[in-house]
């Protein structure tokens, strides 16, 4: 058995004060100054921590908002002078897709590398847009399950990237013709290019080190050169038509490269393969209204090994008036490729709108082989996703002052937590391999189908 994939982690506390969901407003003028003040009784000792925080402040940067929202002090205060409210700073985090809850849980995972655990059941909406309109299955009694998360059974999260011929071909002398190269990754995740809007001076180095530390691959600008050449194995250069060329000697040390889609894509692949025959070439296809058709067309071309489809940051189809969501687009591509009998020959990477670890699992269930992310890693660095990264605008998270060890630690922790959560989901499903998760929609439940099968039969047509 191969060595188990394990990411070494350690807690990386935040540099900035936490932006919690709740805060307590204290109307001090009515205080009775009881000697048994409820503030002393806070189970989480937050009032003392707040006082310490304020005492140490050298400049007023941010208020202290780390109340756990248990209402105990509010309800027990002799003079009823405490009031708990939702922190407006918390509500400002993220946007309509990257909701404050997502930002908060990402921060927590980046700090602790642990799976977020809470009690009292699920608190959210019944279902929702995009990935929130599907549930993963579980095994029970009649099917074997896997007890993976605590290491009692081994669940592999490895995937292979490249072209996988459906049959062997023989040379004239009856020897097996050369097999296409494959890149194995320990996790179905690739770190995608940083958005130009979010490019920070030290970010490339951080991403390089995170990819190397976790054994993953990061797609990076063709002009980037790692300090340590050994890390080239963990870098896939993105070759756009106008990007800087990568010297052949450097390219030969990489395993994967990504090129922009173009009419001459087949020729471009041949050129690259000529330089480095063992490299796997991915084609980046933007999921515009023509994106799905183009991805399917590319999959039919013999030279194409990997297609990387990209929705926008919120998982939506680009340039469409009524955009489809990433999960539906992946399903369409996957299903069409199955119908054409070529699905297993192509590796499908999907990105855009992958915000949580369950999105990784769900995108794979819908038909992607692996996913690509970038924004969650940025959020791990305490980014608020305020989207005001223009030069000269102060960053509320002060990302420009980021320390490399801190950033690598936080990104690594987040990836480790995502890995554990993928294992958690697969364990519940009784799956032993991420490869087998791909396209297994029978192990998922979709909102529309469940509604139709149950309420549709009982209550007529959905309005």
């Amino acid at each position: 058995m191969p060595e188990k994939y394990h990411i070494k982690t350690q807690p990386v506390p935040p540099r900035r004060p936490r932006i919690g969901k709740h805060g307590v407003v204290d109307w001090r003028e009515d205080c009775a100054r009881c000697h048994n003040c409820v503030k002393k009784a806070c189970v989480y000792d937050r009032y003392r921590q707040e006082a310490d925080y304020i005492n140490k402040l050298t400049e007023v940067e941010a208020l202290y908002f780390d109340c756990m929202g248990c209402f105990s002090c509010v309800q027990d205060c002799t003079k009823s002078i405490l009031c708990l409210s939702v922190n407006p700073e918390y509500e400002k985090l993220g946007n309509r897709y990257w909701k404050p809850d997502i930002i908060k849980t990402t921060w927590l995972q980046a700090e602790t590398a642990k799976i977020p655990v809470s009690g009292a059941g699920y608190r959210g909406p019944f279902s929702g847009h995009g990935f929130d309109s599907m549930w993963t299955d579980m095994s029970e009694i009649v099917r074997p399950t896997r007890d993976g998360i605590h290491g009692r059974e081994y669940i592999s999260s490895s995937v292979d990237i490249g072209r996988k011929p459906s049959y062997l071909s023989l040379n004239g002398n009856q020897s097996i013709a050369g097999l296409p190269p494959l890149v194995s990754l320990p996790l179905p995740l690739i770190i995608d290019l940083s958005s130009p809007a979010h490019t920070l001076p030290k970010l490339d180095v951080v991403i390089e080190q995170t990819a190397a530390g976790t054994g993953l691959i990061a797609i990076m600008d063709s002009s980037y050169r790692p300090a340590d050449e050994a890390h080239l194995e963990n870098i896939a250069f993105y070759l756009a038509p106008d990007s800087a060329p990568v010297p052949d000697a450097i390219l030969r040390k990489t395993r994967l490269v990504e090129i922009a889609d173009s009419p001459a894509v087949a020729e471009r692949i041949k050129e690259i393969k000529k330089i480095h025959p063992q490299i796997v070439v991915a084609i980046r296809v933007e999921l515009t209204t023509a994106g799905i058709g183009r991805a399917i067309e590319l999959a039919g071309m013999g030279e194409v090994e990997v297609i990387h489809v990209m929705a926008d940051a919120n998982g939506n189809e680009l340039t469409a008036q009524k955009p489809r969501f990433l999960k539906d687009m992946i399903r369409q591509i996957h299903t069409t490729l199955i119908e054409k009998g070529i699905r297993d020959e192509i590796t499908l990477m999907a990105g855009g709108g992958i915000a949580l670890p369950e999105h990784m699992a769900k995108a794979i269930i819908c038909g992607a082989d692996l996913i690509t992310i970038n924004l969650p890693l940025l959020i791990a660095l305490e980014c608020h996703l305020c989207e005001s990264c223009a030069p000269g605008t102060p960053c509320p998270a002060k990302l420009e002052k980021i320390d490399r060890a801190f950033a690598v630690g936080r990104m690594t922790n987040l990836i480790a937590a995502w890995h554990d959560q993928l294992i958690e989901l697969m364990g519940a499903m009784g799956m032993r391999e991420a490869r087998r998760l791909r396209g297994d929609v029978g192990r998922a439940m979709f909102f529309e189908n469940l509604e139709e099968e149950t309420f549709g039969k009982l209550f007529g047509v959905k309005k």
Partner: protein, 515 residues
Amino acid sequence: MNTLPQNTLKTRVPQEVVKRTVKTAPSRYRNEIAKYIVHRSLDCERCGKCVEVCEFGVHDRKPGFKYFAEPHHHLCIGPSCEKTGHYCVAQCPKGALQIKENPMYRALGDFRWTADLILATWKMAETGKVPAAAYDYNYECGNSGGGFDKLRFKFPKTPPVKLTEDEIDTSISLNKRKDGRPEIKIDVPWYGGGMSFGSVSNVTQLSKARAAVAFNTFTCTGEGGYMERMRPYDDHVITQVATGLFGVREETIQRVPIVEFKYAQGAKPGLGGHLLGDKNTPAVARMRETVLGISLFSPFPFHSVYSIEDHMKHIDWIKHINRRALVSTKVSTPTDVDMVAVGSYSAGTHIVHIDGGYGGTGAAPDIAKKNIAMPIEYAIGKVHQFLAAEGVRDKVTLIASGGIRSAHDVAKAIALGADGVVIGTVELVALGCVRCSLCASGRGCPRGIATTDLDLAGKMDLDWGTQRLINLYTAWRKTLVGILQRLGLRSVAELRGRTDLLMHLDYTNDVPAKP
């Protein structure tokens, strides 16, 4: 029953009686969380007009006192009071009063458990009555945008049959197999879910047990073992056998009328139980026979069960050890939950208990709570119909859980096809839970409910806890009787599977009614 050996129950203690009497059980906290706040400005001349006009007792001036006490904000019905002619704000001669929505109200609750639902549950637990209509609490559903929250009853303008409350039967039978084992009936179509000692305090567990006695229903030990202090309530306790097998002994199986196999739970379908190290106190470690302070992760699944035949072996084992027990099989809701249910029936279970993916009280990974297994609203109908198609629907009791928050949810679940339900979170809310979700961390629940920390658990008194649950059950039963009365149904059993009495807000509802 007479033909079965009686000697399986070796040690029996006298059983305690708990009366089903409603008594006011006010909040444990000094300041109740209110929907509205009343602000009195310095313009007040203390004329006392507000005390005189308010019908709800919001304003209070103790006899002999010059100044008013802090208004009882939680009793205020808000600006809608204006219509009543008793609106203090309008009647104050100095215009010194203001009523505003309490900003804390927004901080309370979530999509599934709205602030209204929490506040209404507290009122029910306090008084034993549903809150007055004037409070305008929407406690019939939450705000999740699907499932129970979109289902409504199609109440006729006048009931087809006029029934008095006394004529309506809310009891259900738990043994439909007619296999010679006891015909256990419970007075209300619900019983308390498994919450282990360790996950909750012993006061919480005992309060649940005593309320179960009062209503001739059940509570469940959860997987953390059987407290000796539960012995006086043995006849209303379900012993849970879960994958960790903590505290499961021959004797604890023999004590009870029902034994439950927990294969999975809605809080974390497909995963084993979690008790984080901080909550593994000396008492918990002793009960579970484990090492103090370590996190306890129960395996998933039972490694001795990989087929229905294996499951049958488990059931036979229990039936052999306790010849008077009914067996319940608790499963979660995978795609093939219907097959699992039929398989469980064929293995010999009396009760199929399906626990939907959105429920649960215990610590669970957030990813599991939200994403694994289907919500219970889908599973009930699926299982009910499949059991009927297999011709065994009337030979097994179907119990649903996982998101039952109100008596209306109980009725909806039964109308979808369940015989009854299991409740959990609502009991904790009745005991003062604000759903801060911090049950798992550190010393546990800051409200003293889901904790084994002695200081925190000491915040709650057993008599108070028992009374809150008795009050809640009373209000629920009354609501359920009211629903049945409006539908003209004589018993809750008649409601089972009556989907024709339901409508869904997102559908045309043009399916013809059943004859």
